[in-house]
Amino acid sequence: MSTERLLAHPLGDSAVTISFGTERSTALLQRIQTAARSIESAGIPVIREVVPAYLALTVFYDSLSTTYQEIAEQLLALSGKMPAPDKRPAKSRDHVIPVRYDGMDLEAVAAATNLTASQVISIHSGRSYTVDLLGFVPGYAYMSELDPRLHLPRRPEPRPRVPAGSVAIAAAQTGIYPLETPGGWHIIGTTAAVMFDPARDPPALLAAGDVVRFEVLT
């Protein structure tokens, strides 16, 4: 476990970013997600929201009711409490997402990786993934860790329109487009799962720390 010192820095008037380290790793990500959950469950009334990321977490707060100094000290104290190193963050959920592997880039991915399409499918669906963070567009989950045999850089030219529900891969990650947006990942399949619904609570199907497995629909 890293023993690097935690650092707090204001992100404008109403947020504070706590940095946990400088090197991306699964252990660091888990530690940050665990800290995010313990901050959420501490029930500090001025806290509005916690956004965990790869090297840091950011807490948004009501700056009319507290000062930066005060909240930063509180958060550093809470974040410094180390969880057991191998423990999965509490409250994370498991999901099985059915996928029809009919993506427009499936054959191209197979060709570029020297695999057959059915090998790509069995490798992609053959392991579970952890949600690193959500972003890019509402409900878009960046998931790790893709099998190294499937690692490909992003497409050189992003597509102007990727349909909602597209299951895609790029570098060491996989993701699902919740809305029709531009996108540069390789599309290998489609899911009917609703990744984001503004009227649902919570609106995003996945949250940071959740574990996802893809089920092959034939």
Binding site: L11, G12, A53, S63, Q69, L134, G135, P138, F196
Partner: protein, 316 residues
């Protein structure tokens, strides 16, 4: 109810933005000029967080279908109610059937129209604001069109008297062009030379500017790393991509991003930047977080003062 008689190219429902949703990748959103929408709301007797109209890209007209108080704030425009001139930041009364016409935008970019009772649309993630990129919030998740009828909420407070004015000395100094910033979360990545470039040059807002962000033009700032692992940003974040020309993230700022963040605009001054048109310039001045938070508390106190004035006005 309000009827959109002639829609401008851009007209949406906005309020002070979402209270949650960032962890799910949903931007906080809300009005580009939070002070203007809040001020317009309080002088018509609404809560500062009520929903109003955000209006840009040209004139148009709307019809009030019930008696109400309304006010305009933000961009300076030529406006009239049934032919009579409407003053900025001033409470006006409208009878059912009267038409508010907005003509030329004299200065500024976003006009706000607050109506007593506020606009009544569903609340999603703590807000009635429209998020156009994902087509949700506000009125059917879209810009308003001619012929749309927008529901108003019940008026819970008596209407303040007509003529109640929000004095200029309570408003952000829109014309000054000085925008205060605090240092960003990646400040250490920028050396002294980069900081002097950033704080000593004027930056022009380019045409590549919208609710998501304003691309700025001016002296280039060295970006030593390209991109970093993504972390949270917020409206007002000034990030420096590889080309060295900063981008100020605005109301619909993506929740996370990987460009190094050199600074964040003080909440008190974000309206000044938001109201800058393409071609207009600002200068950034670095201050500490204590000073920045004090400025934002002062703005909140100013709003409170205006709100008090409004509630006194209604008893006279």
């Amino acid at each position: 109810m309000i009827t959109v008689v002639k829609a401008p190219a851009y007209l949406t429902v906005q309020d002070r933005g979402r209270t949650y949703g960032r962890a799910a990748g949903v931007p906080s959103g809300g009005a580009m000029d939070m002070f203007a929408i809040s001020a317009a709301n309080v002088i018509v007797g609404n809560d500062a967080g009520a929903a109003g109209l955000e209006w840009a890209l040209g004139g148009g007209s709307i019809r009030f279908e019930r008696d109400c108080a309304f006010a305009l704030a933000g961009a300076r425009v030529e406006a009239s109610l049934d032919g009579k001139v409407v003053a900025p930041c001033t409470t006006a009364h409208a009878g059912a059937g009267s038409v508010l016409s907005v003509g030329q935008f004299v200065s500024g970019r976003f006009l706000y129209v607050a109506v007593s009772g506020g606009i009544d649309v569903p609340i999603l993630m703590g807000s009635k604001s429209t998020y156009l990129p994902a087509h949700f919030g506000g009125y059917e998740g879209r810009r308003l069109k001619s012929g749309d009828t927008i529901p108003l909420g019940p008026e819970t407070n008596p209407r303040p008297e007509a003529g109640l004015h929000c004095a200029a000395d309570l408003m952000p100094p829109y014309d000054g062009g000085i925008v205060h910033v605090t240092s960003g979360t990646n400040e250490r990545m920028f050396d002294e030379a980069a900081w002097s470039v950033f704080t000593e040059s004027a930056y022009r807002v380019t045409a590549a500017s919208d609710r998501t962000g304003y691309k700025l033009e001016g002296s280039r700032i060295g970006n030593p790393v390209g991109t970093l692992p993504s972390e949270a940003g917020c409206p007002g974040t000034i990030q420096v991509p590889g080309d060295g020309l900063p981008i100020a993230l605005m109301a619909d700022a993506p929740t996370v991003g990987g460009y190094p963040k050199i600074a964040v605009v003080s909440e008190a001054d974000l309206p000044i930047l938001a109201q800058r048109r393409p071609g207009e310039s600002v200068r950034f001045e670095l201050i500490g977080i204590e000073q920045s938070q004090r400025a934002s508390r002062r703005r909140a106190a100013d709003l409170q003062a205006i709100s008090l004035l409004a509630s006194r006005g209604k008893r006279t």
